[in-house]
């Protein structure tokens, strides 16, 4: 089953919970962090909405 291994957001109040959460300063920053995490973790970055990305492990 797929697992959420990271959450990247610009909206501090929109998220909480078990997976590591990364706060980004802006939407560009958000893209950058998500990109980095995608490459490093070899996991897919999916956009829930413009201010929230989840990194999903499907291995």
């Amino acid at each position: 089953m797929a697992k959420i291994v990271g959450v990247v957001t610009t909206d501090r109040n929109g998220v909480a919970g078990g997976a590591p959460i990364f706060f980004a300063k802006s939407r560009e920053d958000l893209e950058k962090v998500a990109h980095m995490l995608e490459k490093v973790l070899d996991c897919g970055a999916h956009q829930v909405h413009e201010d929230l990305f989840i990194i999903v492990d499907r291995h």
């Binding site: 893209e31 897919g44 999916h46 956009q47």
Partner: protein, 307 residues
């Protein structure tokens, strides 16, 4: 002249020689290395030719042995069956080992299909050898030659399997991105988060929609192994625009649940639409994926329950 005399004199040897030769030729005919690139390795070929020779010899020897009332010789054939089951195992193991390192894996169903074909082709070689040997033993060596050629024709006919174009109508469809959501035609494929991936997908992606021709085809197309086989074949023929560590640049096949049509999203290296189209058409149908539910249901409704 001497050869012909010899053939007339020693019909046992003649039938064995012809049988073995035609068995080997039959195996050789069926041993193609094509875009599937298997068995492309020279040593892989040698292995299969050697086994083909053994198969031919076994089929050929059986007839003279039976002719001389040496019935125990037939047990050798069971040994052959054992041997060729081993071939299937060997193919399965090799392909499974390689599969882990493919950018777009073949998938277990495809591997199983290939392994079964390898085994089946050895039996066809035995069959060709047996027929040849039988004809040259009972009639004459010329009849053996003719039977051999006929069996080659037969083998050639059996070699061909069906392909996707027999069960589905294939059409190209535009790859569309609606925000992060990727569609091929109106079939939803996946959510792509990063802008750079979306750009690559927009530039490089190709889409197909496969409409099943009937209800049986619908089941076959929805089989995961068959879908993976399509993706693998397409990726070997056209190359694939991806690398390890790009989990979202992945060729995918998704089903439109309501309609039963299959949306195919690929990222080819060579973006040649007509080549891609023909590649999809010629993907072999996997034996493991073919189901005939309509036939079973038809039979079932004939013996309708009554109470």
């Amino acid at each position: 002249m001497i050869i012909i005399e010899w053939l007339n004199k020693y019909e046992d040897y003649a039938s064995v020689i012809f049988g073995t030769a035609f068995g080997l030729i039959a195996r050789l005919m069926m041993l193609r290395s094509d875009y599937r690139q298997y068995p492309a390795y020279p040593h892989g070929k040698i292995v299969h030719l050697a086994l083909g020779l053994i198969a031919g010899a076994l089929g050929a020897v059986a007839v003279p042995a039976l002719y001389h009332k040496d019935y125990t010789a037939i047990t050798f054939l069971s040994l052959a069956a054992q041997q060729f089951r081993e071939v299937r195992n060997m193919e399965r193991t090799t392909l499974n080992a390689i599969d882990k390192y493919e950018l777009v894996p073949r998938g277990a169903a495809y591997i199983e299909g290939i392994a079964v074909v390898f085994e089946g082709r050895n039996y066809l070689a035995i069959f060709a050898a047996f027929l040849t040997s039988l004809a040259s033993m009972t009639i004459s060596w010329i009849a053996g030659l003719i039977a051999g050629l006929l069996s080659l024709l037969l083998v050639h006919f059996f070699r061909r399997g069906k392909s996707i174009q027999h069960i589905a109508i294939i059409e190209m469809a535009p790859v569309k991105l609606d925000g992060p959501n990727l569609f091929v035609g109106d079939v939803y494929i996946m959510n792509v988060g990063l802008e750079e991936n979306r750009k690559i997908i927009e530039e490089e992606g190709l889409g197909f929609i496969l409409h099943p021709k009937n209800d049986n085809a619908r089941v076959t197309l929805s089989n995961l192994g068959q879908r993976q086989a399509i993706l693998h074949d397409l990726s070997t023929r056209l190359g694939v625009f991806r690398d390890e560590g790009d989990p979202l640049l992945l060729p995918l096949a998704k089903l439109g649940l309501k309609t039963g049509k299959l949306g195919l999203f690929v990222l080819p290296r060579e973006k040649d639409k007509s080549v891609a189209y023909h590649a999809v058409c010629n993907v072999p149908l996997l034996e493991a994926a073919v189901r005939m539910p309509t036939e079973a249901n038809h039979r079932h409704s004939q013996g309708a329950p009554n109470g």
